[in-house]
């Protein structure tokens, strides 16, 4: 597996992390602590969820001539 393929896997796993982190921080914000910090976590998670898939698509497009092996 090339660095290109591993990077795509990494971007996918990082996106999943942001899904989890967003859910966790939303739960914290609603049930435990409505602090600005938890709100910041929600915003960071949403930003990660938007940016990473777009970046992954851009990366694949940029390195379309490089092998996945």
């Amino acid at each position: 597996m090339s660095l290109k393929a591993f990077h795509i896997i990494f971007v996918a796993v990082s996106t999943l992390l942001f899904v989890f982190f967003g859910t966790w921080s939303l739960n914290q914000y609603r049930t435990v602590d409505s602090s600005e910090m938890n709100l910041a976590y929600i915003i960071i998670s949403l930003a990660g969820l938007c940016v990473l898939p777009v970046y992954g698509w851009y990366f694949l497009k940029k390195l379309k001539h490089v092998s996945f092996l």
Binding site: M1, S2, L3, F10, L17, W24, I44, L63, V66, L69
Partner: protein
């Protein structure tokens, strides 16, 4: 004698030798970290109720470190892509950024470790437990800042509840924070004292083992990448294809290290 298959792929494997080598190494790393992750999960699920500590780690710091490592994965792959596109200047820029990200991660982690080593947990002779940051120590007493007190019999797992109760009480009295005054404790009133090092309890033992091993990997990876950024980059002029392969191999290792942290962060800091 020329080392074979450093650039060209081997006919039987379809890959150059260094790539096979790094994946074999990473397979052994998966077993190492897999065993430690399994240990953590088993220790946690078999802990007695109220005995497993939670909410002891600094989530903002962990979040920043996560973002730093994700950024470093992007820069390390951009460094490799720059070489593929024959742009050595851009490679230097992105590789340098990756090393800086690694250094930032290690600095933040060491700050976090220092914070834990200076945090003391005291069990008093009256059955209460107090924890806070050690700010003064004499032959007669110690002083803890930001102290939190709760019954020792309830175990360290009770700490988050005690913290929330103290904050609610402080809010009810018009204060924003539960602990404003330092706490002076006479040594004669102390039954047991330890800091939040790996020896404090099972939780900190596995926390320091996992994060310490990970930090060593970060340092090792940063040293290799710094070498390729500096003196090692001379190979680009003599053998650009082999150099590009070396950068790919170091990038694969770096991605593995980052992937480990992607699992460590939620398990240790959030759950």
């Amino acid at each position: 004698m020329e080392v074979p298959y450093t650039v060209k792929n081997r006919p039987d494997t379809g890959l150059y030798n260094a790539k096979i080598g790094i994946w074999l190494f990473l397979a052994s790393e998966v077993m190492l970290f897999g065993a430690l992750f399994s240990s953590y999960i088993l220790l946690r699920v078999t802990a007695q109720e109220g005995e497993w500590p939670t909410e002891l780690l600094n989530v903002p710091i962990g979040t920043v470190n996560t973002l730093v490592l994700i950024l470093s994965s992007v820069t390390v792959v951009m460094a490799w892509a720059s070489l593929k596109l024959n742009n050595f200047k851009k490679f230097k820029f992105y590789q340098g950024l990756t090393v800086i990200c690694a250094m930032i991660f290690v600095m933040i982690k060491s700050y976090e470790y220092r914070d834990k080593f200076t945090h003391h947990d005291v069990i008093l002779t009256n059955g209460m437990r107090v924890d806070g940051h050690l700010v003064e120590e004499t032959s007669e007493y110690i002083v803890l800042s930001h102290p939190l007190e709760y019954p020792a019999e309830k175990g360290i797992g009770y700490r988050p509840t005690a913290l929330h109760e103290a904050e609610e009480e402080a809010n009810a009295h018009g204060g924003g924070h539960h602990h404003t005054e330092d706490r002076k404790i006479m040594l004669s009133d102390i039954e047991k004292r330890t800091n939040w090092g790996p020896w404090a309890n099972t939780y900190f033992a596995i926390y320091f083992t996992l994060t310490g091993l990970h930090a060593l990997h970060v340092i090792g990876g940063a040293l290799v990448m710094a070498y390729f950024w500096g003196p090692g980059s001379r190979m680009w002029k003599k053998n650009p294809e082999q150099f590009t392969n070396r950068i790919e191999v170091s990038g694969l290792f770096w991605h593995f290290v980052d992937l480990v942290w992607i699992f460590l962060f939620p398990i240790l800091y959030l759950l």
